[in-house]
Symmetry: C2
Subunit: 441 residues, 2 copies
Amino acid sequence: MTIILTNAWVLTLDADFTEHNPGWVQIDGTTITALGAGAPPAIAGAEIVDCGGDIVMPGMVNTHCHMGMSVFRGLAEDVDDRLYRYILPLERKFVTPDMVRIGSALSALEMIEGGVTTVADMYYFETEVGAVVAEAGLRAIIGQTLADFNAPDHADFDTGFALVEELVDSFAGHALITPSIAPHAPYSTGPAVMARIAQWSDEHPDVRVQIHLAESQLEVDWALKEYQSSSVAVVQRSGLLRPGLIAAHCLHLSDADIGLMVAAGVGVATNPRSNGKAGRGIARVEAMRAAGLPVGIGSDGPMSGNTLDLFAQFAPVSMFAKLLAGSRKPLPARDVIAMATIEGARVLGLDSLTGSLEAGKQADMIRVGIGATRLQPIYDPYSMLVFAAGPTDVTDVMVAGRWLKRAGAVTTLEPKKILRDAMQIASAFKAEMIRIDGEQS
Amino acid sequence: MTIILTNAWVLTLDADFTEHNPGWVQIDGTTITALGAGAPPAIAGAEIVDCGGDIVMPGMVNTHCHMGMSVFRGLAEDVDDRLYRYILPLERKFVTPDMVRIGSALSALEMIEGGVTTVADMYYFETEVGAVVAEAGLRAIIGQTLADFNAPDHADFDTGFALVEELVDSFAGHALITPSIAPHAPYSTGPAVMARIAQWSDEHPDVRVQIHLAESQLEVDWALKEYQSSSVAVVQRSGLLRPGLIAAHCLHLSDADIGLMVAAGVGVATNPRSNGKAGRGIARVEAMRAAGLPVGIGSDGPMSGNTLDLFAQFAPVSMFAKLLAGSRKPLPARDVIAMATIEGARVLGLDSLTGSLEAGKQADMIRVGIGATRLQPIYDPYSMLVFAAGPTDVTDVMVAGRWLKRAGAVTTLEPKKILRDAMQIASAFKAEMIRIDGEQS
């Protein structure tokens, strides 16, 4: 089956940022087979989709998420002790395979609606998450979290490793799902377990490793006190700072830390909304990229950043870079869109498959309508995407040649049922919040 | 004519942040006459609008804008010398009454679509802007800019004052439009002209005064060099720091400056996206509010902040306050929505008319749909509005009892014609940009 998108403003995000306007993209099966400017080739039996001048670009890559948590979205905002007062008690009580399935479905639905085609997730009961994501049709890195505290699905690291192996077995050879092992953070895993994970990873080179790294002052203080070094150096000495490691946040990095990460071949997921909303600080995105680290964009979990599309992250990541430098120039809009697509794919080790529109790559792409008042006029499509567009402008979404959203409607999931399930489960959390506040006041 | 909105989640934004859920609001003519929880009163002949559980709240107050500039939106991004390289030459060549009408219509359309019901504008040919805004049905402060450089509509201050008086005459007694005199900034007006404006304002107490204040390091350096003081102190000594002054930006304020402004009864318009995108810095919103300054939110002009709804400003204003403090706690979501409504109205001196839903106030209100995936579940409506909602969630907009948007469609303007005009004029600017780049390269 051949599909040809025509009359599109094609942003390829290839190495030269080639644009075809008007342009066309040909898809055969799961794959982009050709693309170019002007009129498309005449191919008998091909389905022709006239894009009416809209933008066609690579699907976005959300490099850090906790999909199961969307049912907690917006709960306990603006309080400093939310982790210990609300999140941990709620997770201990409510995180079950059922909850994770419901939350992950809500998250998958929202991401498809907003133009995300690839996501890197880490949470609990991840075999369940993988099943939901596979049904939704998204490309994903699915990471089972390992932690020494409050893990709702494992009492100790041995049990945690068993969950990872179950996950790996479940998705061996899956076309879209790549399993992952996800030590929660250096301080909640510890050097000995990180060394064990490093050794396990040597034996499982296709399993991605994800970790929260240099996220908080608490972590900086922990590493300094316990190991007289940075937390990046602790991870490095454990053997876990390695090619393909996906390091989320990275707010507290010295130049030396960045050097260690470049030497090791690590990728970074920056989460500007989550970090800003927590008042935690601003990641040195320009410094990391200048040193050669690939930096993708992440939504973080919906309790931290609320929404899961990447549009909401664009203005923050851009403004933060400009504020750090005191200038308009850093991180131009085109670079932000590159981070959201091809550079994010590089962070996840999936850039040979996705992240740009090039012949031979998987057909992971989105159509963005440009007719809304707030988008016009358009002098630069990248600036429009970064500073004016939003998830509701995404009209169509395709992953590996399959439509996940067509003409504004998600085709692989049941939105009404998903929303009903999420609202129902949320009412139980509301009751528990009221109980906690009553107990502690 | 009586209209009753029923079955709504009413956020009144009154002094107690009263919510009615489910609730109702009764409108007679231009005015809110009653509101409450549960079932509405039975009134013969009233039009009943079932809001299906959606949020009904005060229309938003955009406290700082340059509406005419929307046709320049997104032009010359990410360059440090944009003002002198592009903006001033383009303004000199292209700013005409026609351009200002087209840009202002595009801006009015976008603001209505996104839930803004009151706007404070300052630019050139403002009698034209007032005419467009009056036709659109928005409530507005319409400010004629006075500057000693590059003013496309006045060669000197005398001519500028004549334009202000024409504006004042044109809108004397208008129900929705309040004329305003807008000295561009301390450094571009100078103490002598500011003193003249202060004197003129004593004779015209109903005309609002707007100014850009403490916006850049350049301004700080100018005041220090020329007057050995802060620019706020320069304005104060000129007599212009006065009750009702609307001061935009206010990025560089000492505690002493804040003290002067509180004593004078000034209001502040903070523009987080514009300031962040320019890399200029973060306004001390918490410090200003704690000292007693009312702080509203502004989009700034669409060349600076791109979009004109206030949703795009919410996460930045919140994150900036939290980042300055290094904590999740500052500027909780409810305060952000207060800034966008009642506090913004206070900054504009219109809080007896608009900014909250209370009996006796003008019926300036919006309906926000809560059905989108990214908005659910909702634990706190303010957090949902600040961190997840967007302009496309606004379904209905009313100003002074008149629908400006109904069931998703703007009723007072012609969107297709406005967009066509804007795109046409933009093509001339594109050609000029290419010419400038050719000349300078």
